[in-house]
């Protein structure tokens, strides 16, 4: 028997004690604040986007708190890691809902996590504000609690098809990561591209975390399509671009802005030479709206940085705060009803949350124009009326080269 040996009672007691001690810390945390949960992908496949979400949420909370908070209370952001997997996401969401008693859960990045958390949020009556694009997230009975701060997969798909066509491509192929979000962009792309007279050569699917993407790249680029739409995230897209660059294929590449920019991470990953000429598309005015400037200032980032997910979470916190102030209630069933009216108006356009809060308190009409885009909401919780910006990476930075509906 070693001197260091513990009995199993001691280990068990230790485990129980740590749970009890830690949970006590949670339950008796600072009162009098209004808690909003941020379920961010801090580790796992969404890892590259977790930190920008947290910064966006905190910047928005600071702006609101500086303007006097909501209902006379300060906003507190409670962060939880969903590890980019649905099971860990549900466990973290339950902690946010049951222990921290947050009014809403924001920032849900992965569509798979959003779909898994949704039944829990609906059962407990917590508002759910997501970044995920899979169409299914807002389908069915959401009790008015689920709001998407992101383009739907369907709208993404046709926006890409139009951009690619406008760029002069006659043939296109798709290289698609196997996730609910990216899959939902495929059929709309094909339909739109064909309707505009284009021809789709191949649709190839791949799995995340593959050791190599060589087979897929050769299959798609070997037929020399004019354009290739790569529906994926930053880790896979970086690997694919390196592979394409090494093999010297000439097809133009198109992807989401969160895969080909996101604080310049993509160019860092692959180098300026490989990134040259890569196209990315994103609902605008992400680059230059008033609210976006506030967001960049709040997070200490230089002008011109493109951070779609961070800005989306920024919008979520602002819209939530305004909706709560307008509803005069921190109960999700009450304030969720106001979310659409914050973005849809009627009234003059306002980008500064402090000004918007003043107008609400004075009972004046207005509509909030977001940092990510000048979005409006449909009754089902999807964004509509979006313009899509077409960016191109030139000499290591993204330049806006056109817009499309």
């Amino acid at each position: 028997m070693s001197v260091l040996s513990l009995t199993r009672r001691q280990i068990l007691a230790g485990a129980a004690l740590s749970v009890a001690a830690l949970s006590a810390g949670g339950a008796f945390a600072a009162d009098g604040t209004l808690k909003i949960g941020l379920l961010a992908p801090l580790t796992g496949t969404g890892g590259p986007y977790g930190k920008e979400e947290e910064q966006g949420a905190k910047a928005a909370a600071e702006l609101i708190n500086a303007a006097g908070g909501v209902l006379g209370r300060k906003i507190e952001i409670v962060v939880a890691d969903d590890e980019s997997t649905p099971t860990a996401g549900v466990a973290a969401a339950r902690k946010l809902i049951d222990v921290d008693q947050v009014a809403a859960i924001t920032g849900v990045w992965s569509s798979a996590v959003a779909l898994a958390v949704r039944p829990v949020a609906l059962e407990k009556g917590t508002a759910l504000l997501v970044n995920g694009s899979a169409d299914e997230i807002t389908q069915g009975d959401t009790k008015g609690l689920v709001w998407r701060f992101q383009t739907t997969g369907k709208a993404w798909g046709s926006a890409f098809a139009r951009t690619v066509k406008k760029d002069g491509a006659r043939t296109a192929s798709l290289l698609v990561l196997q996730t609910p979000f990216t899959l939902s962009t495929v059929q709309p792309f094909i339909d739109q591209f064909k309707a505009d007279g284009g021809e789709v050569l191949d649709v190839i699917y791949f799995n995340p975390n593959q050791p190599s993407y060589r087979t897929e790249v050769e299959k798609v680029f070997g037929r020399n399509p004019d354009a290739v739409f790569v529906a994926s995230y930053i880790p896979e897209f970086s690997a694919i671009v390196k592979e394409v660059y090494r093999s010297g294929y000439a097809s133009k590449l198109y992807t989401f802005s969160h895969a080909a920019d996101s604080q310049g991470k993509f160019v860092q990953n692959v180098g300026k030479a490989a990134a040259e000429g890569v196209n990315h598309v994103q609902a605008v005015p992400v680059g230059n709206s008033e609210a976006y400037k506030l967001y960049l200032k709040g997070t200490g980032q230089p002008a011109g940085t493109i951070v779609p997910f961070g800005a989306a979470v920024f919008d979520q916190i602002i819209v939530l705060a305004l909706a709560i102030e307008k509803a005069k209630s921190d109960k999700a069933v009450d304030f969720a009803r106001q979310i659409a009216s914050i973005a849809n108006g009627p009234g003059p356009v306002v980008a500064d949350p402090a000004e918007a809060l003043k107008l609400i308190r004075a009972g004046q009409p207005f509509r909030y124009s977001g940092a990510t885009a000048d979005f409006k909401f449909t009754a089902t919780g999807d964004q509509t009326d979006l313009d899509y910006g077409h960016f191109r990476v030139l000499d290591g930075t993204s330049k806006l080269v056109g817009t499309t509906k």
Binding site: S2, L4, S5, L6, R8, I11, L12, A15, A16, S18, V19, L22, S23, G25, G26, A27, A29, L38, A40, L42, T43, G50, K51, E54, V78, V79, A80, D81, E83, T85, P86, T87, V90, A91, A92, R94, K95, D98, V99, A112, L115, A116, R118, P119, E123, A134, E136, G140, Q178, T179, P180, L183, Y205, N207
Partner: protein, 299 residues
């Protein structure tokens, strides 16, 4: 807080049932099943699909138990030629293939979109707000049944034979025991338990998709068996609680260390979970509880 503890306890129960299944196959039988998560996933999908096709939850669960037991028994047949590391590789391969099948065969499984709206057992009779508590009760009942059966098996002549074949299958064979049939039965029995665990997973989340199932489930089961003490069912129960307590309890670090930001804590948390598990094995290298041994009574 109480509803959080109830929900987390349900996770402990599910992990414990998966751990018990592995303890039977690997702890007692020496059959390395790295593909555990595949059988678990099969259980969840069979139960989920039957459920959304309109079968009552308990019928869906029974279907999952039977099908996973059969699939598991069929897989054990490869142990005719393979054992130890090779069996581990093949079972892992089976599980990964199954995951790809489920991800791509959208006509059957809805692919990566997953299956929403799975109905829990007795949902119609449970008053609003008590769903999780009722589910926990049902899960505990399942655990009691699995534990009782497996404990009985471990203390029976069958369990003795299983341990003998773990130590040296050739000796068991030479003594006239059919090792292949023994392994077939062990895999089937373990598979049935994984069918239960998978069904409970589907009922707990009410939504399943392929990304919920990965090698991490196999890893948790191995952690439960290794920490609990290989061969000991009681050990597995205690270890499942310890593993989930580490995983979930560490989520509260964020409230204790507000200085660090979320992404730093997230990385630190996963690191601490690993360190905690290593520490337990340093202090208790043989696990928490010794396996059952028949003792001769001394006069």
């Amino acid at each position: 807080m109480i509803s959080y503890l109830i929900a987390t306890s349900a996770l402990v129960i599910i992990a414990a049932i998966a751990g018990l299944a592995l303890n039977l196959q690997w702890g007692l039988g020496g059959l390395v099943n790295f593909g555990l998560f595949g059988f678990y996933m099969l259980g969840a999908y069979v139960c989920g699909l039957f459920s959304v096709w309109g079968a009552p939850p308990l019928v869906a669960m029974a279907g999952a138990i039977v099908l996973v037991a059969l699939a598991s028994a069929a897989t054990s047949l490869i142990s005719i030629r393979l054992s130890e590391d090779y069996l581990a590789i093949v079972t892992l391969g089976f599980a990964e293939c199954l995951k790809l099948f489920i991800s791509y065969e959208e006509w059957l499984t809805r692919g990566t979109l997953g299956i929403p709206g799975i109905v829990r057992p007795f949902a119609a009779y449970v008053p609003q707000g008590y769903g999780d508590a009722a589910f926990l009760g049902f899960a505990v009942l399942c655990l009691v049944v699995v534990f009782a059966v497996f404990e009985r098996v471990a203390r029976s002549p069958f369990g003795r034979l299983l341990r003998a074949s773990r130590e040296d299958p050739a000796v068991a064979d030479t003594l006239g025991k059919n090792v292949l049939v023994l392994r077939l039965k062990t895999f089937a029995l373990g598979g049935a338990a994984l069918g239960i665990a998978g069904s409970l997973h589907a009922f707990y989340y009410t939504y399943i998709d392929p990304t919920q199932f990965g090698t991490i489930i196999t890893a948790y089961a191995f952690m439960a068996v290794v920490i609990g003490g290989r061969g000991s069912n009681v050990g597995v129960l205690i270890a499942s609680f310890t593993v989930i307590a580490l995983l979930e309890g560490s989520r509260f670090l964020i409230d204790v260390f507000p200085v660090l930001d979320g992404s730093q804590l997230a990385a630190l948390r996963l690191f601490l979970v690993g360190a905690g598990l290593v520490a337990i094995l340093i202090f208790k290298p043989d696990g928490l509880v010794r396996e059952y041994r028949l003792r001769a009574t001394r006069s």
